[in-house]
């Protein structure tokens, strides 16, 4: 039996229970279901973009990018060339994610020119050290589906780390939306 003062709580609980039952009676939630048949597959290493953290990015490097992976980046030199292929040409941008080290700026580095298939796309302002996420629309006529497209990143300086020539840190590069 409820003690003194508990009557109200019991009544309240009764109402809550009633409302919960009403809600449960009306709500129609589906039961767990099998996953749908897969209609596609994610491509972690497409030919249009390279994350330099991945060994698979080796296939995208033509020259000027270190084969050694540091955490999730690699060193790029004065002239880095990458190869890509696209399966869509409209509404596409070229993206480069880099970190400009102080040494590059001290060595007189100011700019990294970007060329797509030999055509000048633009220049990355690298006159200050730091993280840069650079993106620029690519004219449709420069791209052809399925064909190799070379992207050149030409820096205006480089510096020495021991015996190694260094430019800047390359995180990722390639075509995106």
């Amino acid at each position: 039996m409820p003690r003194a003062g508990q009557d109200a709580a019991v009544k309240r609980a009764r109402w809550i229970l009633l409302l919960a039952l009403l809600q449960a009676g009306c709500a129609r939630l589906p039961a767990p279901v099998p996953p749908p048949a897969r209609r596609g597959a994610l491509n972690d290493h497409p030919a249009h973009y390279a994350f330099l953290r991945e060994r698979a990015a080796d296939a995208r490097i033509v020259e000027g990018v270190d084969r050694e992976i540091h955490d999730d980046w690699r060193w790029a030199g004065r002239r880095a060339v990458l190869r890509f292929a696209v399966d869509e040409t409209q509404g596409i941008q070229f993206r480069v994610v880099i970190i400009v080290p102080h040494e590059f700026v001290q060595a007189g580095g100011r700019r990294i020119e970007v060329r797509i298939g030999g055509n000048p796309l633009g220049g990355i302002d690298a006159s200050r050290a730091g993280y840069i996420d650079w993106k620029q629309p690519v004219p449709e006529e420069w791209l052809a589906p399925g064909k190799e497209i070379r992207a050149e990143l030409v820096a205006d300086a480089e510096w020495m780390q021991g015996n190694e020539r260094r430019g800047y840190i390359l995180g990722s590069a390639g075509f995106t939306l």
Partner: protein
């Protein structure tokens, strides 16, 4: 002119049928009524009966011209047999003073003429030509109710739309608007009769004119809306209660109030309070039962069609796919505070003399509304103030000017009772002049929604209907473009509403339903960088055998937090062992809380489809995969977008036969290469969702990307008009 006649027939036939049913109902109610009261009350009290009849025909799929005509004729014949058309002598009400007879008669006649012409003109009101008559037109074509999952307004109660449907069958859009106009014109007469009944005829006449001549009441009451009908029925409920009508009749009217508009459910409280005060429990029970029966079709339909009896509201209590809880949360907040309304202190001036921000205004007279409190000195005044408070109680759920309509008759009456009687004719006269089309533009800077001109040529169809509509209605020509260039059965995804009652094609406006939001989300996930699948959350753990995995969202942002409105979403959930993905198998079971319906989208291998919580983030949400046996795993990856910075996650696993335990806290994040064909993938999914065409305005956010990259999207333009472009999905 023949069109004008069909319009008048459609409306007249419907109103007459309602009136005839009402006469029979009032006879059975055995109320002592004066002739003037009986005529007006008959129409108002017959409306729920006709509405119920039409609801039944809709449910039975029997909406055909012949059936409606036969039903109407039978109603009229039954009423004739019942003596409804015989003139009965009743009580005599207190006479209206002669000056008031002139003033009320003149103003009412002029406004009634204007209102009838405005209502007869082709329908151009946004909601009327959009969804109110859009659904009516659809029910008419389909001969009854159909599940409409592309527009949440389809789940609102549609008691008045049932009357529109009868009128629409014979006179189309304008006939429906005229039915609404009948309520708008009946209300001042009802107020006048009530004034006479309580021995305050001048106050009744003044109150009637205060309502009649308010600019927002005029434009709303002459459109295919529902607000004037709600106001009229609300007043009838109070009238019947005060006249001690039998509880079944008052209850029926209360239920009808709900059937007209959800927020009018408060109507039942007025007679219920009366019965409770007097301890008339049996009467109270009859009242509630009658109200429930009249209101019942709408929650019942919603539960059957949409899984939520209160749809499109209360979606967290009754979760469903039809309306997302996140939309409801957003919508409710928006309706409470319109754009540019920073404080409720702005409301008095916006509602009376500005009107731009609240879609309409009541006129300067209503600046005197607080003086209505002076009516508290009399018993009748106290009742009017109480009713105004009751019907005004729901106003702050939507602060648009027209949402004061149910309270306005009582506010008007309280003002008329509270203000000095000699002032009333002057105030009513000035208010009538000030509200006449288009006087407001002479004393207001940018008056809001109102009747700016009397469209008599269009009303009488002297002017070509289509040409007039093309000039007056934004989107009319787009609706016709859709009609001409798409095949029957087409589903057109649009980003903004058009007057869809002028096309037979189904229009799914992106934000207006859960389905529309999900379709829109596909396009946005391919269009906007922060909504694209650009990063992966990677959970790593020691390799182990697990029977189930779930990722749990752990953050509940505080109110006011900038991430408060974030929705959680996952494009793809992948499980790995030793760097190799374990593909989902048919033996798996997947689920999510909330939105279990969408869980499959996180396992379909398509980078543009995503499971979304469709509810603002809160701790405890999860996405689950049960493996149907033990599976070795050491990594889980979630493909996600950047539009959910407030999300915090942990990974939980269930060893075979064990309970849930945490496997990993916050994940490591890494970039993911966006597929370049994402736009086309999105459009393919939109097409899988049943959409055949897109309607895009040049002012839509999506226009620039869609028009510039149409090949990448896989769409082809079919035609354009007035800045609207129609695309076919290839």
């Amino acid at each position: 002119m023949p069109k004008a006649l069909s319009v008048l027939f459609g409306a007249g036939f419907t109103v007459l049928c309602a009136w005839a049913l009402g006469r029979m109902a009032l006879k059975r109610a055995r109320m002592e009524l004066a002739q003037g009261e009986r005529q007006v009350l008959a129409f108002v009290c017959g409306a729920p009966l006709l509405s119920l009849l039409m609801t039944g025909l809709c449910a039975a799929g029997a909406v055909y011209d012949a059936v409606l005509l036969a039903a109407g004729v039978l109603i009229l014949a039954a009423a004739w047999k019942d003596g409804a058309f015989r003139r009965e002598e009743g009580e005599r009400l207190e006479a209206l003073p002669r000056p008031w007879q002139w003033l009320f008669g003149a103003v009412f006649s002029v406004y009634a003429g204007v209102a009838l012409l405005a209502a007869m003109a082709p329908e151009i009101s946004p909601d009327g030509s959009g969804y109110h008559l859009g659904f009516v037109s659809r029910y008419y074509r389909e001969h009854g109710f159909v599940r409409i999952d592309t527009n949440m307004y389809a789940a609102l109660s549609q008691g008045l739309e049932m009357l529109f449907l009868m009128a629409f069958a014979f006179g189309r859009h304008s006939a429906a608007a005229l039915v609404h106009c009948a309520f708008y014109l009946a209300l001042p007469l009802l107020m006048l009769r009530f004034g006479q009944r309580i021995g305050k005829p001048a106050a009744g006449a003044a109150a009637g004119l205060f309502f009649l001549c308010a600019p927002v009441a005029l434009i709303d009451g002459t459109s295919a809306y529902t607000d004037a009908a709600v106001a009229c029925v609300a007043f009838a409920v109070v009238y019947l209660t005060e006249r001690e009508a039998p509880p079944w009749l008052t209850g029926m009217m209360c239920g009808f109030a709900y059937a007209l508009k959800y927020t009018a459910f408060v109507a039942v409280l007025y007679p219920l309070a009366r019965h409770a005060w007097r301890k008339q429990w049996r009467a109270a029970a009859v009242l509630c039962a009658a109200a429930a029966i009249t209101a019942a079709p709408w929650p019942l339909r919603n539960w059957i069609y949409y899984g939520n009896p209160a749809a499109p509201l209360m979606n967290r209590i009754w979760p469903n796919e039809f309306v997302h809880a996140s939309f409801e949360q957003e919508y409710v907040e928006l309706m409470r505070r319109y754009p540019e309304i920073e404080s409720y202190a702005q409301l008095p001036l916006e509602l009376t003399v500005k009107g731009r921000l609240l879609a309409g205004f009541w006129g300067p007279l209503f600046l005197l509304a607080p003086l209505g409190l002076l009516a508290l000195r009399s018993a009748a005044g106290r009742r009017m103030v109480a009713a105004a408070a009751l019907f005004g109680a729901t106003y702050f759920a939507n602060v648009g000017a027209r949402f004061l309509m149910p309270a306005a008759p009582f506010v008007s009456f309280a003002m008329a009772l509270g203000l000095p009687a000699p002032l009333l004719p002057l105030l009513a006269g000035v208010h009538a002049v000030a509200g006449f089309p288009d006087m407001p533009s002479r004393y207001m800077e940018a008056p809001g929604w109102r009747l700016a001109k009397i469209p008599w040529r269009a009303a009488l169809r002297i002017e070509d209907e289509q040409e007039w509509l093309a000039r007056q209605s934004d989107g009319y020509r787009a609706a016709r473009l859709v009609e001409m260039l798409t095949p029957p059965g087409a589903l057109v995804l649009a980003f903004a509403s058009i007057p869809e009652s002028y096309t037979t094609r189904e229009i799914a406006v992106g934000f207006q339903s859960g389905r529309g939001e999900r379709l829109l989300d596909l396009i946005q996930a391919a269009m906007y960088s922060d909504m694209r699948p650009v990063r992966e959350a990677v959970f790593r753990m020691p390799r182990q055998r697990l029977s189930a995995l779930r990722v749990v969202q752990t953050n509940t942002p505080r109110r006011g937090d900038e991430r408060e409105k974030d929705l959680w979403s996952i494009f793809e959930m992948r499980v790995f062992a030793g760097g190799k993905e374990i593909p989902p198998s048919p033996g798996w079971r997947i689920w999510a809380q909330p939105n279990p319906w969408g869980a499959g989208l996180a396992f379909d291998g398509i980078a543009v489809t995503r499971w979304r919580s469709w509810e603002r983030i809160r701790s405890g949400m999860f996405l689950l995969a049960e493996f149907g046996g033990a599976v070795e795993a050491d990594e889980v990856r979630l493909l996600m977008s950047e539009d959910q910075r407030g999300v915090r996650m942990r990974l939980e696993g269930q060893p075979a036969g064990g309970g849930w335990r945490e496997l990993s806290g916050e994940p490591h994040w890494q970039g993911f290469p966006v597929p370049l064909t994402l736009r086309r993938m999105a459009m393919q999914e939109v097409r899988r969702g049943g959409v055949t065409h897109l309607l895009v305005r040049e002012s839509d956010h999506q226009w620039e990307d869609l028009s510039r990259n149409r090949r990448a999207w896989g769409i082809r333009e079919l035609g354009a008009v007035d800045g609207y472009h129609l695309f076919q999905l290839e």
